[in-house]
Amino acid sequence: MTPIQLVFLFVAFATLWAAFMVVTRNNLVHAALFLVIALFGVAVLFVMLEAGFLAVIQVLVYIGAIAILMIFAVMLTRGDVDDIPDITNRYAGWVGLVAVLFFSSLVILMAQWPSFTALAKPILSSRDTIVELGTALVSPNGYVIPFEVASVMLLAALIGALVVARPRKGK
């Protein structure tokens, strides 16, 4: 057991525990705060995978924007529907069973794959993966078209969200 493995196990269990709390808490504000813990755990995993840029984006976009947006939405929709006694629908038992079966079959399937226990080769210190990522996102030989489509989609989602959430006139 090396220290890095201990760190991984700690982060992994914290992330899974927080994710479990997200889907089981009745109080949605608590669920949103547990979601922040889970998202932060994923950011730490990105650091351990040497994807520092993605870790920063994870903290900025997911924790800074999406989780806060969730908390705002929870507060805006708090009414007499809050704290309902049963938070899951009548299929919850079956869904839990399917989820456990799905998880075990995924693990069994993956265990038969030869690269399952592959170890990471060190990244050459002469490489700067952030520069490579930035170049790839805007280079015509890289991902410029998906990148531009994603920006148009974000603009469309922004306008769509505004139109959908705006109060109707006269109400």
Partner: protein, 102 residues
Amino acid sequence: MIPLSWYLILAAGLFCIGFYGVLARRNAIAILMSIELMLNAVNINLVAFWRFLAPESISGQAFAVIVFAVAAAEVAVGLALVISIYRSRKTVIAEEINLMKW
């Protein structure tokens, strides 16, 4: 050294927890939170495959960036829909939003 399997099992677990949340929770905002968990599990997988199997190209990280953009768009539109429905029908329980159910 951490083998690839640890990351894959963690991502599978996170995905299945999110899967349970999407199908079992009644509150629409809780369903959106569970979708975020599932998207994060996919991102862990993308970055882990990039790091362990194809570190010489950058495609794994580029895909993860696109997933971030999709997640942001999805949550913005989803929460706008939830707030709009709450305004007109005073509920965020997924089963009670049956306006389009025949």
